[in-house]
């Protein structure tokens, strides 16, 4: 039984960098967009459960086999399985080799993603994340400064945290078309 400390290190070091590819793979093979985040969540859960018996020697094939099997199982249950889907899955897996450079972000790239992610938040959420991250204010201080309740700060921080994670790790929902320039300039919007 592998303990939490080792699992956590492995998960952060080996699994999370694959999130962008994993969601791409799931999205490519699953027609219902709303299921993508849940499927990714399932794959993580299965991957951790499996790793309890011993950390896999090679994380990428391990993760994608889990993802493929999970998609097939879900498809069977949903009675929408077809040979095409299974064949597609095999094909996609063989093509995975070429993406290695995406796996480990250098510091500059990580910073750029964090910055981009921040820029995509609504002005209000972004302001709160900045007060927390850059100015080092805690929940109460942020609430006092902005004149809002601490629950509101927690809620907005939660939104910012999850959106940033989605953006930085790549497990984003497929972005709905949004009026970028206008949306940014509006200001003051709540999420």
């Amino acid at each position: 039984m592998v303990d939490d400390t080792d699992i956590r290190d492995w998960f952060r070091r080996e699994v999370l960098p694959l999130e962008r590819q994993l969601t791409h793979f799931i999205r490519h093979n699953w027609r219902v967009e709303e299921d993508v985040m849940d499927l990714m969540h399932d794959v993580y859960e299965l991957a951790i459960t499996g790793a309890r018996k011993g950390l896999p020697a090679a994380t990428r094939p391990y993760l994608f086999v889990i993802a493929r099997n999970h998609l097939i199982n879900r498809a069977k249950r949903a009675r929408i399985v077809s040979f095409e889907l299974v064949a597609d899955l095999e094909l996609i897996e063989n093509e995975r080799g070429g993406f290695d450079q995406e796996r480990y972000l250098n510091a500059r790239e990580a910073l750029r993603r964090a910055q981009d992610g921040l820029a995509k938040l609504t002005p209000r959420v972004r302001q709160i994340v900045q007060l927390r991250k850059i100015d080092g204010l805690n929940v109460q201080e942020t609430a006092d400064l902005l004149g809002i309740g601490s629950d509101a700060v927690r809620q907005q921080t939660s939104i910012g945290m999850r959106k940033l994670a989605d953006h930085m790790l790549g497990g984003t929902r497929k972005a709905a078309p949004r009026p970028q320039a206008l949306a940014r300039r509006d200001g003051g919007g709540e999420t």
Binding site: F11, K133, A143
Partner: protein, 330 residues
């Protein structure tokens, strides 16, 4: 709500709770139970934790970098600049007879902003002035200082034009207290601190609580640092130096409020300069070796002559007292 979303929300709540400080024993137990409930919860928590830590990198950019469209609205301060300059000069005239230690609340405000009150204050050499602002905050001007304040229901602002001002800020929700000193902007959350300005050099000494010192250029935030109680930040141009935690140093730096100057191994020229801030009659040092003498102690700020006599008695320096200056030589 999807399972992934639910787990994500719960994970974020726990992460925020952890950032807020130590969990109580009961909370910790609940957290552990939640983590143990499913590997999915762990995945959600570790995932957010990892990304949230990585987001710390934005700190390197400083504020403003991530939001190019953000500009600090300085319209209000521009609007006030000219009236307050007039007010400041009036206040300077007034300072001559302002021997009353405490002034009542702010003067009436500008005509087209009924909610806003604004006023200027200034002290001449050797003067100190304690002012109570309408919001209950108190500011104390040290010698040769000028400041103006503008209080609206949304925002409380003070501009330190020159010299040194001590702030005891009343805690007000949703009404931030911001101090401007040259290209530095200090944001306060209910605290006691002083701002000393000499040209473009700004020194912030924090007695209690926490303030944020922002460096501004053309109204944009460049960098900022958080100063906690017991620390002193010295800022000039692009540099901001935050000294090590030293409650004693801060207390020394603020001893002027009780009419005393406190020095800890400070060279004589610096001490003379400090006395000269408070007195028309200047301390003048003559001779090479005299400049390397370092002195510790607490002295009344308005008695440079007593200090000079002490130098004569303790160090054997010659002291010549004239009308405009006190000359110390060896």
């Amino acid at each position: 709500m999807s399972r992934a979303e639910q787990a994500g929300i719960e994970a974020a709540d726990w992460l925020i709770a952890h950032e807020d400080g130590e969990l109580s024993a009961a909370e910790q137990a609940r957290f552990e139970a939640w983590m143990a409930a499913s590997e999915g919860n762990k995945a959600a928590y570790w995932r957010l934790e990892c990304a949230w830590e990585a987001a710390d990198r934005v700190r390197a950019l400083g504020p403003g970098a991530a939001m190019p469209e953000q500009k600090f609205d300085d319209a209000s301060s521009r609007r006030w600049r000219i009236p307050s300059m007039i007010a400041a000069s009036l206040a300077l005239l007034a300072a001559a007879w302002m021997l009353v230690p405490k002034l009542p609340a702010l003067a009436p405000g500008h005509a087209d902003a009924s909610q806003v009150t604004a006023a200027s204050f200034a002290t001449s050499v050797g003067m100190k002035q304690l002012v109570e602002l309408v919001d209950g905050s108190r500011i104390q001007l040290n010698t040769q200082s000028a400041a103006r304040a503008q209080i609206s229901p949304q925002r409380r602002e003070v501009w330190v034009e020159k010299g040194e001002v001590f702030f005891d800020v009343a805690h007000r929700r949703g009404q931030p207290f911001v101090v401007h000193a040259g290209d530095r902007q200090i944001t306060v959350l209910g605290t006691k601190f002083s701002v000393r300005r000499h040209g473009d050099k700004v020194v912030v000494s924090v007695l209690e609580g926490r303030v944020r010192v922002d460096e501004l250029k053309d109204n944009r935030l460049l960098r900022s640092s958080v100063i906690v109680g017991g620390k002193i930040a010295m800022a000039q141009g692009p540099a901001t130096l935050v000294t090590e935690r030293s409650d004693e140093k801060v207390a020394d730096a603020l001893s002027w409020r009780s009419g005393m100057l406190t020095f800890d191994q400070m060279p004589l020229p610096a001490i003379a300069a400090e006395f000269n801030r408070y007195n028309v009659r200047k301390l003048v040092l003559a001779g090479q070796s005299i400049e390397s003498v370092e002195i510790s102690g607490t002295f009344p700020s308005d008695q440079p002559d007593a200090f000079a006599r002490l130098l004569r008695d303790a160090y054997g320096f010659d002291v010549e007292e004239a009308a405009g200056e006190i000359r110390v030589s060896n």
